[in-house]
Symmetry: C2
Subunit: 238 residues, 2 copies
DNA sequence: AGATTGAATATGTATGGACATATTAAAAAT
DNA sequence: ATTTTTAATATGTCCATACATATTCAATCT
């Protein structure tokens, strides 16, 4: 609900959103002009503009110059997913975090990793992450040594590759893919599962200004892993 | 890159983001005050404010009154996932969409569905969705008949339940969960898979002002299903 | 009828000023 | 030395106004 202490633009936003949620304004319906709403709330047009602009950014309405504002057609709305760092994810559950480097090798990446990195030299790493000594995530990672040459001499004993990379180039762009796979024999053994058990797979490609940095596959036992997507405007809070 | 035709606030936003991406401004670093940037760009403070506010909303910087603006610590950044309507998803691939209602029954939901709906009467539906006559998604859905009584007499012959619900209460709030499971015998048969093949599972709970509307489980063959998460500020476009 | 031109209009951006408010740092009082 | 009070400051919101620009609708010309 709308709090008295809310700034005016938020009040307008919430009340409009409520009218949409409750079906008073249905997809395709026109929303009043900014000037008219400004009169209703006795405020400046800029204030109304901000309210409706934010609703547009969140996908609730569509705006066109001269044509006005309409409630957007529903369906395929965007949700937010936060992909956590393993350590945080594990420690947030109150468990002890530990990881282990199983493999470390300089390779010429091929296949998916090759396509993702487009580089001749990469550092390949295979790691396992534990929560309270129980296998939590199996990680296969390629780091592009052409764009991140420092990786060649990093030990990855104290900080895992993910944390190391976040430290090294903090705000690189990332793409994520989610899928499900059956565990092969090796994966099953490392994760203490049976062969063919379902795995929840997160793939991540990061790049900086077009240059590929890393490609990683993060494999979780499907039986107890669950990823949550939040709504954009939760209830009427925002 | 910054286009000449970009509005000033976008120019400021992009150039600040670039300084963060390239590591000139690192996590924890202070960003200049709004007034100073306004001087540099010869614009009003409100213009700078909008640029930095949007960067804050996207998680790149953190702002505190009196304390100023600092580059946020990286890691666990949010990404956007769009959960498409099956029909759109299938037709977007150029395939023919068809669905089939396999089961339809009024039940008292128990287990996860019961917890999600907290209702005594629900319509349970089991459906299969085809792409070019190949099984694409298996759907198990409970619709709360206390909040959506009209569902009891809906046929779901032309419009599938998802589309029907989007039509009925367009902007309800939704939560999504992703996970991986092994197909049981029945699921495998319906999806034309082998038993134990990995399934990519999307669970969805929707509610309207606190009242539960529906709970659905959407099961995809893991072998060829892949969900993509986009970045928030793609490159430097936004 | 069809194409071209020309207003009308709703949104988009921007200004420069004002006041509110959270938070910090310095000053004063204990 | 520690706590309390006070002032300084950066961000947050808002206004009234102005002009830019995309898009529609009507008027005009071929």
């Amino acid at each position: 609900m709308t709090t008295n202490s809310d700034p005016v633009y938020l009040k307008i936003k919430k009340e409009l959103l409520q009218r949409i949620r409750q079906g008073e304004l249905r997809p395709g319906d026109k929303v009043e002009h900014e000037e008219i709403i400004a009169q209703q709330y006795d405020c400046a047009r800029a204030t109304v503009h901000r309210a409706i602009r934010e609703l547009a950014e969140e996908g609730y309405v569509e705006r066109k110059r001269r044509a006005g504002t309409r409630v957007a057609s529903a369906g395929n709305r965007a949700t937010r997913v936060t992909i956590p760092l393993v350590r945080q994810e594990i420690e947030a559950r109150g468990a002890k975090y530990r990881f282990n480097v199983l493999e470390r090798e300089i390779v010429t990446p091929s296949g998916v990793a090759g396509a993702a990195l487009s580089s001749d030299r990469a550092l390949f790493l295979r790691l396992i992450h534990f929560a309270n000594e129980a296998p939590f995530q199996l990680e296969e990672r390629w780091i592009n040594l052409e764009t991140v040459p420092q990786a060649e001499h990093a030990t990855f004993e104290m900080t895992n590759p993910n944390e190391w990379l976040v430290e090294t180039s903090p705000y690189s762009e990332a793409e994520h893919f989610f899928s499900a796979e059956n565990a092969n024999k090796a994966q099953a053994k490392l994760l203490e599962l049976d062969e063919n058990d379902a795995l929840f797979v997160i793939e991540r490609r990061t790049h900086l200004e077009g240059d590929a940095i890393t490609y990683a596959r993060l494999l979780h036992p499907g039986a107890n892993y669950r990823m949550t997507a939040e709504n954009f405007s939760f209830s009427t809070k925002n």
